[in-house]
């Protein structure tokens, strides 16, 4: 039996990152996103990426408790994903055919208002998270604890390392492994090569 979620309950579930809400959203909304992406020079993989990025944008937006929905969630999500895809197409086109970035500043017409949810940043989040999630389990745990600002001594205790120094060395190794994976990933080259010293606006 198919359970139907209202927009409100979906938003509520998504705020709490509930698996069943994400699964429902994917099951119900993905075909529409895929169809849009595939009609506009994309493929299945592009559609999945756009869906992920749209999910991040939606999640970030609904964190604001004053967030109000003026249309159905499906329409809203579709608009987010459509904008992401158009921005992405535009950026990839520029990467391919234009050497001078500054010429096409007008293409920000589709851009979202916040740097954090700009299309290219969303792609970075996805790719970096993907690489992180492909690290060995112990590295993931260690780095998660480190980013939670858990003291190294405590991390050593949690992970059963002999001392704080070993935890520190292990952390360097894990971070190094992650950086190397990203640097060697052709999908990540676009950020690493072209962005240079650009700072978030």
């Amino acid at each position: 039996m198919t359970v139907h979620y209202s927009d409100e309950s979906l938003i509520h579930g998504l705020r709490q990152k509930k698996t069943r809400s994400i699964r429902y959203l994917y099951k119900e909304f993905f075909p529409m996103i895929r169809s849009n992406v595939e009609r506009n020079s994309g493929n299945h993989q592009d559609a999945e990426d756009v869906f992920h990025d749209g999910l991040i944008v939606l999640y970030l937006r609904i964190q604001n408790q004053t967030f109000t929905l003026n249309s159905s969630l499906k329409t809203y999500f579709y608009a987010i994903c459509r904008n992401i895809w158009l921005q992405r197409l535009d950026r990839k086109y520029r990467l391919m055919y234009q050497s001078d970035f500054e010429v096409h500043e007008d293409s920000d017409a589709y851009a979202t208002e916040d740097y954090y949810i700009r299309e290219e940043h969303l792609e970075k989040i996805r790719l970096y998270n993907q690489h992180f999630l492909n690290l060995p389990r112990d590295c993931q745990t260690l780095l998660k604890l480190f980013f939670r600002k858990v003291p190294l001594k405590e991390i050593a205790g949690i992970l059963g390392f002999k001392d704080e120094n070993y935890a520190k060395t292990r952390k360097y190794m894990c971070k190094n492994m992650l950086r190397k994976k990203i640097l060697n990933d052709p999908n990540c080259q676009q950020f690493i090569i072209y962005e240079g010293n650009r700072e978030p606006e």
């Binding site: 698996t19 699964r23 970096y128 998270n129 992180f132 060395t169 971070k175």
Partner: protein, 232 residues
Amino acid sequence: MKETENLSEWIERFQLNELDQNEQIRFLSLLERNPLLRREVELDKELNTILSDENLLQLSEKFFLIRDRTGHGRNKWIPVLIAASIIFLLTIGILILVTEKGLVKKFNDQPVAGKSSEKNKGDYLSANFIPIPEFEILIGSTTRGPSFNLKMPQSRTIISRGTDLVFEWTSAEIQNQVKIELFNNKGKKVFESLPYPGNRFTLSTTFFNPGIYYWKIIIDEELISLGCMKVL
């Protein structure tokens, strides 16, 4: 290796402002000269920002899991399905070959009901019931007198396809080895047992097409008895 480890450590400590003055000067000079290192330091800075957001990391993780398990329209099963289809087709092909060359050859002149149209099927079946006059006149005769007595089956037997046909006999000569041969109504031998020392033999008719068959009981290459069975 050592240098790489040191660089990793320095990158981390640089981000955390943990380098002392001398180390910082050396590291900045290295940065200036080494574009790869600059790239790595920039990436590390971004990683620290992005991965610090545990909520987004959890969201991504859950999405990737759902995507991989659900695989909306994803064609990840296509190679498996193609392989399975090929194996299936090969199996069917082999079975057909075996049937054509093996079973049909074994029962060579037997009409294969499955291959015929319904109209032809009737013709074939009726053709299977035409008796052989040369065999008919020998039915029921036993050539070895009282030393061999066939108890079962009767010289004319009607049997349903799939039922076992049981041969049972007594013989005064213990060393006798009995061989049973079976012919279809075209005189073609369709079965031959090995010489058998016992006094009972069971023949399954599961794979026999309906029709008339003649059995011969042979001892020392000598025909002892001949009978007929109709498989319905």
